[in-house]
């Protein structure tokens, strides 16, 4: 749809001559059960305007009351980002008119954010880049507009507009980085790695489901360029609502290429808001900051100041989970897996699942084998996330235990897993119900072994002559005779015992 007429400088050339400075403003919808200032529930995807009340609709006379859980979640994020938590701060009103703003002001924080001055260590390749955090503050989300008709999907020229206020009042945390300079050609990768690390951190904190595709995490990307060696930073652009990790990287890349061309042509970069287009990977101009609105911030008189007591903050700090980067390093050491193997686990989204399976008693090797093998195949075949499969780490650990104990072999274990995924019950129940345990009745096995030897005299003779490796067909015959319910290793041993006499 969108075509960009901007001239671009190839990325490599651009970063050779210009130093990029980036900054990220990331909005995270908190996963509180109820909204920021009222008791409406926050379930995603409900019937439009079904989760609203006088408060989040901004009806005349209604008043906000702060959701304590949202404050706690924000403090959790602030602490995990090594921020200072304010001992006293206020909400402020950000005033502007828009049809999806129920009150035509947004309750936000202005010069007194809840958390300030922290950092996040971000892995980029085998290096760690420390990204400074300027502030973390809390605000309410707006409703969602749908402008129907017209060409742009914007309010101007629309035939009519629909507004869904279910989202209005959902608690939103804004995390703003300090300017990140000196990353050179890595700037796009650093931006992406930062958002990735932040997403994992927020998810580990249990304060949001951070689904970028549902918009519960969205980033604005700031980029400026200055000629290498210049003492001053250039004018920045702010690219809005970049909604995937890949887009974060592409938006930075594109802005570097575009701004370099502007500067090369001897023109000035206009400080402005830009829109990113997923389809083309380009940005286009939004409204210019010069004509930006005056938000007329002032302290929200309907709310009292927030003053989290030090003991409460200490409690929240004590209950913080380990940072994802630390968890990864610790588990890799504990499991004794290579970088490559660890990457495979991470890429499959299996870290928590493997860890849970190990915690339930399985060996790291078994846990990895089942999750990255059979279960990954099942997930792929059914087009689902690994974590969305209907099997728990504890159940996987139980299957592994049954294999170790010799109750199941791998073939039977896969059948048990099929049963669990089909909702037939616990692994033990399925073993019982499907009659899947390996044949361990010595008498029955011995009979089957004797029969196999009798049926294959030539093979038996070779084995007797010491060609142990030739026993395969005998094992196969016994497995076939027992309906594959025998433990193959045990069968092999019995055959060798028999023929060595």
């Amino acid at each position: 749809m969108t075509t960009s007429t901007d001239t671009l400088v190839p990325f490599g050339e651009a970063v050779e001559r210009y130093e990029p400075v980036i900054g990220l403003e990331t909005h995270v919808e908190l996963g509180t059960r109820t909204k920021m200032f009222c008791g409406c529930i926050t379930t995603f995807g409900a019937e439009p305007n079904s989760q609203v009340c006088p408060v989040c609709l901004g009806l005349p006379g209604s008043l906000p009351v702060v959701n304590r859980m949202a404050i706690e979640y924000t403090i959790r994020i602030g602490l995990a980002l090594n921020c200072t938590i304010a001992t006293w701060c206020r909400f402020a009103r950000k005033n502007y008119f828009y049809p999806d703003m129920p009150k035509n002001f947004q309750i936000s924080q202005y010069d007194e954010p809840l958390c300030t001055d922290g950092w996040l260590d971000v892995p980029v390749g085998d290096q760690i880049t420390r990204v400074g955090i300027e502030r973390v503050h809390l605000e309410e989300d707006t409703g969602k507009s749908l402008h129907v008709g017209g060409v742009t999907g914007r309010i101007h020229g629309a035939e009519y507009s629909l507004v869904d206020y279910n989202r209005a009042g959902i608690p939103l945390v804004e995390i703003v980085t300090k300017p990140v300079a000196g990353t050179g050609a890595d700037a796009p990768v650093v931006a992406r790695a930062y958002v990735t690390e932040l997403r994992d951190l927020v998810r580990a904190l249990g304060v949001s489901d951070v689904r970028m595709e549902e918009g519960s995490l969205r980033s604005d990307v700031n980029v400026s360029l200055a000629p290498r060696g210049a003492s001053q930073w250039g004018k920045r652009t702010e690219t809005k609502n970049v909604n995937s990790l890949r887009s974060v990287q592409r938006a930075v890349e594109f802005e570097i290429e575009r701004q370099a061309a502007v500067l090369d042509a001897g023109r000035r970069v206009i400080q402005e808001t830009r829109h990113f287009h997923e389809d083309t990977g380009t940005t286009t101009s939004g409204r210019s900051k010069e004509e930006a609105q005056d938000y007329r911030y002032f302290p929200e008189p309907d709310l009292v100041p927030v003053a989290p007591p030090a003991e409460w903050v200490a409690q929240i700090r004590a209950a913080l989970p380990e940072a994802p980067s630390k968890v990864r390093a610790r588990l890799q050491a504990e499991w004794n897996v290579s970088d490559l193997e660890m990457d495979a686990i991470l890429n499959a989204g299996a870290l928590d699942l493997v860890a849970g399976t190990v915690a339930a008693g399985a060996s790291p090797a078994d846990a990895r084998k089942w999750w990255l093998g059979e279960l990954s195949r099942q997930a792929h075949d059914t087009g689902r996330e690994l974590a969305a499969l209907a099997i728990t780490p504890a159940q996987v650990a139980r299957v592994a235990a049954l294999v170790s104990a010799g109750t199941l072999n791998d073939t039977l274990a896969r059948e048990v897993i099929d049963g669990v995924l089909a909702g037939e019950g616990s692994p033990d129940a399925i073993v019982e119900a499907r009659g899947l345990s390996v044949v361990s009745d010595e008498g029955a096995l011995t009979a089957a072994v004797d029969q196999a030897i009798a049926d294959n005299p030539d093979v038996a003779a070779k084995v007797r002559d010491g060609k142990v490796a030739a026993a395969g067909p005998l094992v196969g015959a016994v497995m076939k005779a027992t309906d594959r319910k025998a433990d193959a290793a045990r069968v092999r041993q019995l055959i060798l015992d028999r023929l060595s006499r």
């Binding site: 006088p54 009806l59 005349p60 006379g61 009351v65 005033n95 309010i155 101007h156 507009s161 007329r296």
Partner: protein, 503 residues
Amino acid sequence: MPTELTRMTAADLSAALAAGEVSSAEVTRAHLERIAAVDDRVHAFLHVAADSAMAQAAKVDERRGQGEPLGPLAGVPVAVKDVFTTTGLPTTCGSRILEGWHPPYDATITRRLKQAGAIIVGKTNMDEFAMGSSTENSAFGPSRNPWDLDKVPGGSSGGSAAAVAAYEAPLAIGTDTGGSIRQPAAVCGIVGTKPTYGGNSRYGVVAFASSLDTPGPLGRTVLDAALLHEAISGHDPCDSTSIDAPVPPVVAAARDADVSGMRIGVVAELSGDGYQPGVLSRFAEAVELLESLGAKITEVSCPHFRYALPAYYLIAPSECSSNLARFDAMRYGLRIGDDGTRDAEEVMALTREAGFGAEVKRRIILGTYALSSGYYDAYYGKAQQVRTLIIRDFDAAFGQVDVLVSPATPTTAFSIGERADDPMAMYLADLCTIPSDLAGNAAISVPCGLAPENGLPVGLQVMAPVLADDRLYRVAAAAEAAFTGRWGHPLLAEAKGLEGRRP
């Protein structure tokens, strides 16, 4: 009997109802008949709730008949300022922009009134969004002062004050942001209280200036005001600024009415130039009266009160410019220009242009300017500093005395139209009442006689520290008892505006 019922105080009605001497249906009908008889002249009401009031009354009578224990206001009529949301009744705030809006929820105070069994007889007229001192800013025409129908009843709760003074209801609820309860009470010759900010819930009170708006009672006697005060007060979890503390014992204080030994400070700054001579002489008499009742009178200086009015006219408009932004035609109320050719933003602008009156627009523009980047520190920021200085003046004064007194208004009721084109003159009507709004403490106005030059009522203002609302009632009740004794009748008995003796 009907006339007699409308002349009774709420306390007496309560006793008669409890004793079974009269039914709520009779009391309610009498007041509805009074409204029907006089309100075309007073115009205290924007909506009269005849049917629902009679239904409520029948319900209260039924409950009483079944021996249910009922509160003191059960079956007693009350008029509610049209700024409180009410299910089943429109809520317009005196504005075209909300004409016909039926709120889907009750204000906390509306709910408490219903729970107390009070009978809501209607919604009273007011300056648009409570901005004004005369009710002339109502989009639906002014109310008139029952003492003299050519005079204003004060404002913004002018409809509530006029309804009580005209015997259309024994009690009314108002809101006080810069004096909007005390000033109309004073010029209508009745009692009106601005309780401690946070003592009464603002939930469901359509906001003018959030840090100032305070709901409170109006009545013909101090005890009546106390009964209503007690019924509506107390912590509300739906209002973050609501104070979680016990309600001061206002009814007991009104019954006690003893000021002997109390230290009463006369605010030096609230007198002199600009005050009507008859107001000052009646105020001086009131102070002498309190002294004769055993109070110790001292003069107290509050040097920053002279900056209260300008500070107020920065803070209140600033907050209102934001509070009134929500009236945008999107979800409720008036919608202009939605003819398929205009986008939502144009419809918003046209609706606000057509729906707001001149004074509301003036304050939105003032407040928008005061909050603008580059001006914030000089205007809104500075005004907040003045507010702190005024709080310190009060703190210092209450270190020396138990309550402060002043005239409630610089002048008696002025004529309709007299100040309509002079906003500065209009704003001066709240000169004495604004300091307590800025400081958030409690204050009351109680009648202290008629100005000799025009025979119109004068109010005595009593101010008390935060959460010491009971002191107001103690002092006001003592003054009321002594004055009534001296006059031989309640002051309101001299109001003749509705008896055809128009000057």
